[in-house]
């Protein structure tokens, strides 16, 4: 009994960590270029909704995934324009995007499916495929991390991206197009967060429900901070959060109070959020953000 629980816990952890990894690595590209991306939550929702809706219409999860990437990239571009071109406060603008996706999917699903926020159920064979118990998206997540590690530290693009986030003035003086790099970082973050969201709706489940991300976008951001904005530690942080989430699910209906009654479900639900707070409090002091994170680049100031 014990060992089965452990194996299923491992797979559960991977499953729950996958959307976090995609969103967190997405956030990494944005934040390394100097733009705070607090809209990962909204971008994931964009991906989740688009994936579910498009898969329902086209019967192909790949088209669903592709359109999710495009949709999330579009809204990331919107965020980028507002923050980079119009110098908005990034946290405020990101919050705006998040609120937008509290409402937009509901309005669209009302129009398309006459529902109050969910998309219709998609049959199993039209969801993203799995190999054994691992989704293809989870496998790709690991590749993503490895690729990001290489790109960030071994290619000119990565060097330039990092310089733009640390000292945009220096990058500019060296001839790098700072704003263009930042747009790239933000759009990439949208695309990757979109994949994370798509996995939620057409990989992990079979439809989109209102606010189905339930804070994962913020947890991904916390993982990024915990992982000191580096790819591999961030992935490990996501696994940690995935593990907490997996434990939560295992415990529901199983955990008992000393009196023999079930632990109320609300306390179990709280666990991932409490863990996030504790992790942040414990580790942020040692974290070193990209030097120019959150500072708009304005050379004429």
């Amino acid at each position: 009994m014990r060992s089965i629980l452990t194996l299923s816990l491992v797979f559960s952890t991977i499953r729950l960590a996958t959307p976090l990894v995609w969103a967190a690595i997405g956030g990494l590209y944005s934040e390394r270029s100097g733009v705070i991306n607090i809209a990962l939550e909204g971008l994931m929702l964009a991906g989740a909704f688009t994936a579910a809706a498009m898969t329902f219409y086209t019967h192909s999860p790949w088209l669903g995934l592709g359109s999710a990437i495009i949709a999330a990239a579009f809204f990331a571009l919107l965020l980028a324009v507002v923050c980079i071109r119009f110098k908005a406060n990034e946290v405020v603008a990101g919050t705006g995007i998040n609120i937008l996706f509290l409402g937009l999917p509901a309005v669209l699903s009302g129009a398309l499916f006459l529902s109050s926020g969910s998309t219709p159920q998609i049959p199993k064979d039209q969801l993203l495929p799995e190999f054994g118990r691992l989704s293809v998206v989870s496998i790709l997540a690991v590749l993503l991390v490895a690729l990001t590690q290489y790109v960030l530290y071994r290619t000119p693009f990565g060097l330039r991206l990092r310089s733009v986030g640390e000292n945009p003035g220096a990058a500019d003086a060296a001839g790098i197009r700072v704003l263009r790099m930042r747009y790239t970082g933000v759009i990439l973050s949208g695309m990757l967060a979109g994949v994370g969201g798509a996995y939620l709706s057409i990989g992990q489940s079979s439809l989109f429900t209102r606010n189905m991300t339930a804070g994962r976008g913020f947890i991904a951001l916390a993982a990024l901070i915990f992982g000191k904005w580096r790819p591999v530690p961030t992935m490990l942080a996501c696994l940690l959060f995935g593990f907490a989430d997996a434990l939560t699910i295992q415990m529901q209906g199983v955990a008992k109070l000393p009196s023999g009654e079930d632990v109320p479900v609300q306390f179990i639900q709280m666990i991932p959020y409490v863990v996030t707070i504790i992790v942040l409090a414990g580790f942020i002091g040692q974290s070193r953000a990209p030097g120019a994170l959150g500072v708009a680049y304005d050379k004429e100031s």
């Binding site: 290619t155 000119p156 640390e166 990058a171 500019d172 003086a173 001839g175 197009r177 030097g291 050379k299």
Partner: protein, 505 residues
């Protein structure tokens, strides 16, 4: 490479930074551009480097008009620039910083070996020694400057623009730096130095352009001019290059510091067993290259930097004050004019009135009523008007936001605020940084007047001229220790410079 700016104009909002400039820099020379802060010199050269675009006018490189829209264009033409505040990515290595933007290898892979080889070659050719794998953050200021020079040379600069290059160097390092420049001139490069240090202009340059209020007011051969003439051109009138003061009449010791050591929360030792006294009615100056502990010394004495580990004793009029926070210190008469007025000294969005009460806002006369809860608008405005009047703050409108004032006026406001406390001890750091000459004279006179009224003054300045002119006694700080104490009237700049680098007088 010959560089010419023809009829260049540039406006930033209300300010006309460059007004139909005409500057010619002959090939293979060292050319100085001098002017006060705000004269427009940096702006002009940044236009040449492509950082800004001129509103009108042309840039000619080797007698051909060129369209320079971004630093990349300037770099491609062979123009390099080293900025006043280094443009280095601190957590990255020297190699990464130098090759940034021109990385060897392919788009898919950085060729680190090739980068290192190129840097080694350049380093040898110009005798600019650096450790290619060192992280920039760990380097000294002089080393960082060498990295900046290598950056420009790596991009094959034929003309180098250097903005205030000696601001952070000791006199000895300045000499070394000059020999590097002469070597470059021998190699056929053209060098442009932007500076306000007239002595250096006379020492190293072949030609000099003087700017004032955005215009060129003189193009001279260095050997045909003098410091006095240059100063007059810079300001438009005769300038007192030395402040007038009577000898000090020091009284009792107001501040006594014994074996003061400061270790920051990051673990670095910034001050090491520093001991000195400051008496009433005297100005004790602290000279030294920035970064040798002066900032920490002043901030700790002001009650800031609470997270640091502080050992040793600090007594004020006989009282041990090391537990006192900033508020309490101000209450007992310690005033503080910070070195960075934008960061520490002002609330830029607040009005002048609201800035004038910063530090005393919680007690009468600024606050009144039960628990001093309410701000007394009338009293505050009266105080603001007093400070504005006594310290010649312009424009004299207490309702204006602080950011509307020029640097010099902002500094006068802060000084007025602190001087009006009135203080028993004044801690003042970099009092005239970024301030125009007229305000500099005013501020110097006010500091001396405060001393004459019996206040004890601890003055920190990176400007050797200033700190030697104003101080009655001069301490030199190096690596967090007092390298020596001298009588500024009897000691030459070279001797002080020697102490600043750790040598012995």
């Amino acid at each position: 490479m010959k560089l010419e700016l023809r009829d260049i104009s540039k406006r930033f909002g209300d300010v006309l930074a460059n007004d139909h400039l005409n500057i010619t820099i002959p090939s293979g020379t060292i050319h100085a551009i001098v002017g006060e802060n705000g004269a427009g010199k940096s702006t002009a050269m940044r236009i040449a480097y492509g950082f800004y675009r001129a509103d009108s006018g042309d840039i000619l490189v080797d007698d051909q008009v060129r369209d320079i829209r971004a630093p990349l264009d300037a770099i491609a033409l062979g123009i390099g620039m080293v900025h006043q505040h280094f443009m280095l990515v601190r957590p990255m290595t020297v190699t990464e910083n130098i090759v940034l933007g021109a990385e060897p290898g392919s788009a898919l892979s950085l060729d680190v070996k090739q980068a290192a080889a190129s840097i080694r070659a350049l380093s040898a050719e110009f005798r600019l020694a650096v450790d290619a794998d060192a992280v920039v953050e760990d380097l000294s200021v002089g080393q960082q400057q060498r990295v900046e020079l290598l950056k420009a040379l790596y991009r094959r600069a034929e003309l180098l623009i250097l903005d205030e290059p000696t601001a952070v160097l000791t006199p000895q390092e300045v000499e070394e730096f000059f020999s590097i420049l002469r070597r470059m001139r021998e190699q056929g490069k053209t060098v442009v130095i932007i500076t306000h240090k007239l002595s250096e202009v006379l020492a190293i340059s072949d030609n000099v352009t003087v700017m004032r209020d955005g215009r060129v007011v003189g193009n001279l051969k260095t050997c045909e001019t003098s410091a006095t003439e240059l100063a007059r051109l810079m300001v438009g009138r005769d300038v007192l290059l030395r402040v007038q003061k009577v000898p000090a009449k020091p009284g009792d010791a107001v501040l006594s510091v014994r074996d003061l050591s400061i270790t920051t929360s990051a673990g670095s030792r910034r001050l090491d067993k520093v001991s000195f006294d400051v008496h009433a009615g005297e100005i004790v100056g602290v000279a030294g290259v920035e970064g040798n502990g002066q900032t920490e010394l002043i901030e700790v004495l002001a009650g800031l930097l609470a997270e640091s580990q502080i050992t040793g004793s600090v007594t004020f009029n006989g009282r041990d004050i090391h537990q006192f926070d900033t508020r309490r210190r101000r209450e007992i008469g310690i005033a503080h004019v910070p070195e960075d007025r934008h960061r520490r000294g002002l609330l830029l969005e607040f009005s002048l009135s609201e800035n004038v009460i910063l530090g005393v806002h919680y007690r009468p006369p600024a606050a009144r009523g039960i628990a001093s809860a309410l701000l007394d608008e009338q009293a505050i405005r009266r105080r603001a008007e007093l400070v504005i009047r006594e310290f010649d703050v312009r424009p004299p409108n207490p309702a204006l936001p602080a950011r509307a004032l020029s640097g010099g006026n902002q500094q006068k406001l802060i000084i007025g605020r602190e001087f009006e406390l009135p203080p028993t001890l004044l801690l003042i750091s970099q009092p005239t940084r970024g301030v125009d000459i007229g305000a500099i004279e005013f501020i110097h006179r006010k500091i001396v007047a405060l001393r004459d009224s019996g206040c004890a003054v601890l003055l920190v300045s990176a400007e050797l001229e200033e700190v030697t002119a104003l101080s009655d006694r001069l301490l030199v700080l190096h690596n967090g220790r007092i390298a020596g104490e001298v009588d500024p009237a009897q000691t030459s700049h070279e001797q002080v410079g020697l102490l600043m680098t750790g040598g012995h007088a």
